[in-house]
């Protein structure tokens, strides 16, 4: 019998919220010199050092740091949601928005949209951001459908993952080709491909929240049906579950979540894989609470990663996507090694 750190999902949920809140507050301290901007934190509570400073500080905290950190949380939560949903739909503990090619599809979508927007990611109208999100969603959807078609179904784990890799390579090549044709997009796309929260403003936050809430609501409603899918397609059907329509609804939701995250923060790897995994190790799994917890976990992971990426080499900062790729890659390797040693996926 496995001993869980947290027997009750509610306890883990509260702890995750608490940890996230404290990290969000901490990130208000993160100025260009490291974690010492106490005035910045004070501004949040209406405490400013001097009258003259207050305007600028408030501007920095409310217009830059706050949306950026909240945006990191939202993107992480979306990726955690997408990861948990794809693991449930594809009955595969390694399914992840990236391994299924959907992130590459979303990035191709963004690249195409940028061609239309003439390359700038800064100071764009929220409608343009909405268009960017839509393009990312369409790209993610296209990639998942291509992956599933190439694997002729989703039943076979290995075929599915290989197909995901092929689709990611092909769509990645298409993106590179576009960049070759429109070299002025290179700069925007580079920040984007490395994954960064630097461009996230309040309108991005609103759009990501608009994608997150219905996704979470759907996962809560479908909750136990998702567990039913874990018993296999035929058994789920024998239990009266509408397997096919349900799978499509879930694929659309996970593509929307991936697209929304990718459109605003670029390619941030491994959060979608790691968040549900860590959650499974901490609390007894059940999709009804599991998907929500995985989403909270994803948010926490990305806020933490974003904070570290901003602080490690301050006053400069690392692209957060590079940072999560390094940490996440190490985590995946460790997981595979454990898997090999124990002879089973745990």
């Amino acid at each position: 019998m496995r001993d869980y750190v947290y027997q009750r999902p509610l306890v883990l949920g509260l702890l995750l919220c608490l940890a996230t809140a404290s990290l969000l507050l901490t990130s208000m301290l993160a100025g260009s010199n490291g974690l010492d901007d106490w005035h910045g934190l004070g501004t949040l509570f209406g405490l400013a050092p001097t009258e003259a400073d207050s305007g600028m500080l408030a501007q920095i905290v409310w217009q830059i740091r706050m949306p950026r950190s909240l945006g990191a949380w939202l993107a992480g939560a979306l990726l955690g949601l997408a990861g948990a949903l794809s693991q449930a739909v594809f009955r595969n503990p390694l399914a992840d928005p990236y391994l299924l090619g959907s992130a590459s599809g979303a990035s191709l979508g963004v690249c195409l949209a940028l061609v239309g927007l003439d390359g700038s990611l800064i100071d764009i109208h929220w409608l343009a951001r909405l268009g960017l999100t839509g393009a990312a969603f369409a790209g993610a959807m296209l990639a998942v459908v291509m992956t599933a078609a190439l694997a002729s179904g989703v039943a076979q784990t290995l075929r599915l993952l290989l197909a995901g890799v092929v689709v990611a390579v092909v769509l990645g090549a298409a993106t590179s080709l576009l960049l070759q044709m429109y070299p002025h997009l290179l700069q925007s796309m580079q920040g984007f491909m490395l994954g960064s929260t630097a461009f996230v403003g309040w309108d991005s936050c609103a759009l990501m929240l608009a994608a997150l809430l219905p996704g979470l609501a759907l996962a809560m409603v479908l909750g136990r049906w998702l567990d039913g899918l874990a018993l296999g397609e035929q058994t789920a059907a024998s239990l009266g579950l509408p397997v096919r329509p349900m799978r499509w609804v879930l694929i659309i939701t996970l593509a929307l979540a991936t697209g929304a995250a990718v459109a605003h923060t670029g390619l941030i790897a491994f959060v979608g894989l790691a968040a549900p995994h860590i959650t499974r190790r901490m609390v007894r799994w059940g999709s009804r609470h599991g998907v929500l917890l995985a989403s909270l976990m994803g948010g926490l992971l990305l806020v933490a990663a974003d904070l570290l990426a901003r602080l490690l080499i301050a006053p400069r900062e690392l692209p957060v996507g590079v940072f999560t790729a390094l940490i996440g890659g190490a985590y995946l390797l460790w997981l595979m090694r454990r898997h090999q040693q124990s002879g089973g996926m745990s």
Binding site: D227, T235, L241
Partner: protein
């Protein structure tokens, strides 16, 4: 033999093709209510396909009726409440506990927003207890042995509380005491009015049921009581006379017949 009494499942002129290959040819069968029927035949005869088709899980040509009603026209949830199916090498969520998997058997009784009620839990508990799996209900399915996992899957199927049970290789990986327990359990269920159709490759176990459907190359070539000598003859013939059905201590058994004679 024509079954006596009301028919639970009626299969008429059934054709099933899987990936372009016809697997079942013009199958006709009647399963009487309150009987336990075994589907028997060599590997590749179409036993599992017939069972899955009877569960409404495959696209078919022909007609399948459950209690006189066209199976494919029934709403999914109602069908699922009347007919429980357990597949061969069924996938299991390794992340779920035995208790959670068993509770999934109650899904047909729930609506979108309704949670589990006391009756759901009582049925799941009863199912786990009848499979002697109650004591490790909190264990993860991924940590169970093959036989233990099989008992959880059976409990999941029993928890549906469906009047018709379709079980594909339910005894796989079970040790002899648990096989014997399972036979007793089936007898109890059938005596209480349930209808059971099972595919079993342990022929001696299958001979403990009431009736048999003998299949060969996608066709049902014989349907009759397990005690009937004609059934024994049909069974021996589909296995190329490499088995013989005998009575040992008042119980029917299938013995292998050596070719080296």
């Amino acid at each position: 033999m024509k079954p006596i009494g009301p028919i639970a499942l009626q299969v008429t002129g059934l054709h099933v093709a899987l990936s372009g290959t016809t697997v079942l040819h013009d199958v006709n069968a009647s399963i009487a209510r309150g009987r336990w029927v075994s589907i028997l035949g060599p590997n590749g005869a179409g036993k599992s396909t017939l069972l899955a088709a009877m569960a409404g899980l495959l696209p078919v040509q022909g007609r399948i009726e459950l209690e006189g009603e066209e199976l494919h026209a029934m709403p999914a949830a109602r069908r699922a409440r009347q007919l429980a199916w357990m597949g061969q090498s069924e996938a299991v969520g390794d992340d779920l506990s035995a208790w959670d998997v068993t509770l999934l058997g109650r899904l047909p009784h729930q609506t979108w927003f309704s949670g589990l009620d006391a009756a759901d839990k009582a049925h799941a508990e009863q199912a786990l207890r009848s499979m002697q799996a109650w004591q490790w209900r909190e264990r993860y399915v991924g940590t169970l042995s093959g036989g233990e996992r099989q008992r959880v899957l059976l409990a999941r199927a029993l928890a549906v509380q469906a009047p018709v049970l379709l079980l594909d290789e339910p005894l796989a990986s079970l040790d002899p005491p648990h096989q014997a327990d399972w036979l007793d359990l089936m007898r109890t269920l059938v005596d209480a009015g349930a209808t059971v159709v099972s595919v079993l490759h342990e022929i001696s176990m299958a001979l403990q049921s009431d009736d048999m459907l003998v299949m060969q190359q996608g066709r049902v070539i014989h349907q009759g009581a397990c005690t009937d000598a004609l059934s024994h003859r049909a069974l021996e013939s589909v296995f190329d006379d490499r088995i013989q059905v005998r009575t040992v201590d008042g119980q029917l058994v299938a013995l292998p017949r050596s070719a080296r004679r």
